[in-house]
Symmetry: C2
Subunit: 578 residues, 2 copies
């Protein structure tokens, strides 16, 4: 029985909300607000949108997720990968920065919200399982490289464009001569400062005598120092006049509330991208949410997360934002700062609303190169090249899927890359199951256990051939099994009985059933018995429903040991091994 609190999780925790939780949540919200304001501006820039769009996308969506989401600590808002995907999706339909582009961004958020809600209604959360870890990891690594490379032009103050790595590099090469020295100086120092802040500041502050908590807060607040410092420098040295590109005027005020206009052609154009944005956002968010929930022994509910993220995206769409999801960096900050309930997100929304209404114009003096530096430092921490080496050592198939994802994201863009990666990982799995491992097995001495004659010292019998097929039997491998069984029998003239050990057969489809009948017929006409052992319950149920058992003349043994006891004559150590 599902209850109302399953659909609106806020009803489960809000009634017991007390002073202690409020204290924790307010503190976490303050930290997150400080982090979200510059991130919102930066990611909006990455998506090709006006800076305030990033702030708008960090208000109402947080409230929507607080009502419908199941993670206690997930922080929702604009994230790097989704911003990049937004730019890639909108680039063909409108000119970046134009009013049509802003409207299309809201439409994309609405569509991906609706897609997520529809997936929740159809209980399709399991679809996210089809994105394998290596593909997701490769996608995030490649996106990080692509995003960082794309920001270099802002660090140099040049106008290069491009949405794939070769085009970005070519653009940088051509534009290099026009680089602005003041912009470069600011960009380089901001990047170095932020790298230090992320990787070494906490240690330095603690060595300087600060307490653990204060040092942590200090390190988290570093971007704020970079931003405040750079704005002070802009005003003091009049860097705008020196050619340093600034964020420019940001209108102050509450987000505009409006539903995106219906435009059938645009909606159809954006739908495939909306599905991808929704799915990728869902996978990113759920993996962050699960990691954090596990640390505190909490649980998140995948299907309800679809509702939470869907609501957050619809909220982004009606308040002038663009697609959002649960971000890794900010969620960890929220968690570390001690957020107790989703109310922390609602408080952060209030903080950002305050900043949007009262502080927005101030950020107009922020150099774009400083925002670019915050993006570069954030996304490079997502790049995990070592994962390629680890995956390669374990599985060539996983490595192939990961490498193809990375290469195609870099060379052909995010959408092509992720679709090709998922397709390849599925095709490789199918190919793998179509060439099953088939072992000849014998009895491990002193046990009733049967293992591969090539790997273990086992007992076999010259007139009994026991084959273990290590795969479900279905159309793609049915013929392979047929050929292999007949070849093995042809190579052993003394064989009187063949037993197919089905401990690894989890399914037999209609095509494979025909192959089993063909094998039985061929062996029968050669005077050889064909039997099955260790057929699993669900598989046996299927055989009983078919006409297979009517014609099948062999026996079906509960265990391979029973089959061996009944059929093996003159058993002894496997001659191939002695």
């Amino acid at each position: 029985m599902r209850r109302l609190t399953d659909f609106v999780p806020i009803l489960a925790w809000a009634p017991r909300y007390g002073r202690a939780e409020a204290g924790c949540d307010l503190f976490a919200a303050a930290i997150v607000t400080i982090m979200l304001v510059p991130q919102g501006l930066a990611y909006a820039m990455l998506a090709g949108l006006p800076p305030q769009t990033g702030l708008y996308a960090s208000i109402l969506p947080l409230v929507a997720y607080a009502v419908f989401g199941t993670s206690r600590t997930l922080a929702v808002g604009p994230v790097a990968v989704i911003s990049l995907m937004t730019a890639a999706a909108l680039e063909p339909v409108a000119a970046p920065g134009s009013a049509a582009y802003v409207a299309a961004a809201a439409t994309l958020a609405l569509l991906s919200g609706v897609v997520l809600l529809a997936m929740a209604a159809l209980r399709l959360g399991f679809l996210a399982h089809f994105l394998s870890h290596p593909v997701v990891s490769g996608f995030i690594t490649a996106s990080g490289i692509l995003i960082a490379a794309g920001q270099v032009r802002h660090l140099l103050g040049i106008g290069a464009e491009g949405d794939t790595l070769p085009r970005i590099l070519l653009g940088l090469w051509h534009g290099l001569g026009a680089a602005n020295p003041a912009t470069m100086a600011i960009g380089a120092s901001a990047t170095l400062f932020l790298f230090w802040a992320r990787h070494a500041a906490e240690g330095s502050l603690r060595r300087a005598g600060l307490g653990r908590r204060a040092a942590g807060i200090g390190a988290k607040a570093a971007p704020l120092f970079a931003i405040a410092g750079s704005m002070a420098a802009v005003l003091w040295f009049d860097l705008g006049a020196a050619g340093v590109r600034l964020v420019g005027e940001i209108p102050a005020g509450v987000p505009p509330l409006a539903l995106p206009r219906f435009d059938a052609a645009l909606w159809l154009d954006l739908l495939p991208a909306a599905v991808l944005v929704g799915l990728v956002g869902f996978v990113e968010s759920v993996s962050v949410g699960q990691t954090l929930a596990a640390r505190r022994r909490q649980r998140i509910v995948a299907n309800q997360e679809l509702v939470g993220l869907g609501a957050a995206n619809v909220a982004a769409a009606i308040s002038g934002g663009y697609p959002v999801t649960g971000g890794f960096a900010r969620s960890v900050v929220n968690f570390d700062a001690g957020a107790a309930t989703p109310m922390a997100g609602a408080f952060a929304a209030l903080g950002i609303l305050f900043a949007t209404v009262f502080l927005a114009p101030v950020f107009g003096f922020l150099p774009r190169s400083v925002l670019a530096a915050t993006i570069v430092v954030a996304v490079l921490s997502l790049v995990d090249i070592g994962a390629l080496r680890r995956v390669y050592a374990y599985s060539r198939m996983d490595f192939a899927a990961m490498a193809v994802t990375i290469v195609l994201v870099l060379l052909a863009g995010v959408e092509v890359g992720i679709v090709a990666g998922v397709a390849l990982s599925l095709l490789l799995f199918l190919w793998r199951t179509s060439v099953p491992h088939i072992a000849i097995v014998g009895m491990v001495p002193g046990t009733e256990h049967f293992r591969n004659v090539d790997r273990h010292r086992v007992i076999t019998s010259p007139d009994l051939l026991s084959l273990r097929v290590d795969e479900s039997l279905y159309f793609a491998n049915a013929r392979v099994l047929e050929d292999r069984v007949l070849a093995e029998v042809a190579a052993r003239p003394g064989v009187r009985n063949v037993v197919l050990m089905c401990s690894a057969v989890n399914m037999i489809d209609a095509s494979a059933l025909e192959s089993l009948e063909a094998i039985a017929d061929r062996l029968a006409s050669a005077g050889i018995g064909f039997h099955l052992s260790e057929v699993k319950g669900p598989v046996m149920d299927g055989l009983r429903r078919s006409e297979f058992l009517v014609h099948f003349k062999g026996r079906i043994f509960l265990s391979q040991h029973e089959a061996f006891a009944a059929l093996a004559a003159g058993a002894g150590p496997d001659p191939a091994r002695t």
Copy 2:
């Protein structure tokens, strides 16, 4: 070591070719020639091509297959399904019957020949395994219905068009008023006669006193009687003047030898269809060839069949033909008539060449409705509606793939239907493996064998949870396993150890490896041991290559029985069952 005879099988049998084989082959060739001439005309009409194209496609391709093919009895030439696919592929690029249409048909044959040869070079014959039996069976049934429905207009003598069932029926409905009585009379009597010939003639002739062999030949020659009789009627009653549509002038002479002209745009347009035509033809041909080879204890080699069919299609392309493959009906006739070697095909080619050079103009007086009747009777014998019921009883998944193939072939055409059927069967398999069957197992008393506690009376221990997961562990099901293991443990507070029995795990990919690590971590933090048993050799090799075993604190048991002996305390009959 592969030898020249593997690539050119004719070298293996030709040196030993003697008088006995020649006698058998000549007789079979005569029968097949009689059958192939009207079929060639009919299928060319089905493909929207001039009638002589069907004859041309029945000469050189047979010789090419005789040289390169491995089946002793397969008869290659135009077939119904491939003719329908040819019409569907050419319809968008040229007007049926036009010179451009004829040239495009030859191009399609060339491309599908090249595709087949390329698949042979890349050893991609296994791709045919991905067409499941239910999908192929559904495709042939639906194509048969579609072809038969499409021929009704010729039986009625009206001009209705259409390439999907609704459009065909609509066209017939609108054209019904214009039906020609003479055409209908000829069409109906030819259809009834041919149905009788196919299903009852042999019995009637034997009851009339003919020997078994003579009766068989008489029945096979029935189409010839229908053709000769109808042509006599045309000439006698001057039916052409009565509005009966005739085949019309057929030029006599040898097939024109020429390579199709290179046209990049056309080749690109036709390539997808060429891949489909090649694959479907290959699957049809190989299944016919395998069925016949099995009856005589011969073998066909799938990869060399690609070469044989590829060569046959290239031969069709350079001699004014269109795509060909091994046909079911004519191969069975060839087999039954006693063909001993592929030389029968070469002799049949000579027979058809003779008919093309000397008899072609005679067939100009043949009514189209008689050709339509031969097609209808031939394809309706391929329709197997009972297969739907049998597959439904055994497997809902296979049934779904088959039903979707049938419905889409009828409603959206052959290409959409087969592609959707293959895609759906693959997706259903993936979905099936993404929700694995997981059983709690206990020891079958008196054995070392472990089975599902829900299906067998077994011995379990309250402090040991033994789970058998019935699927390879990979990204699509890794999370499901994680959730299930943790849920089962949460429901059993007394559990001290968990053993995952891996007898059905044929692969663990990188994503699943992370899930196993996550499960081990979660159980360890709850003070519960996590162990594996019956890990297969190839899977264990993979684990050894990874860092999994470095962190893994549990034990890996050779058999589940060993694990039970080491870890179970207070074992007894499973309480859930006693």
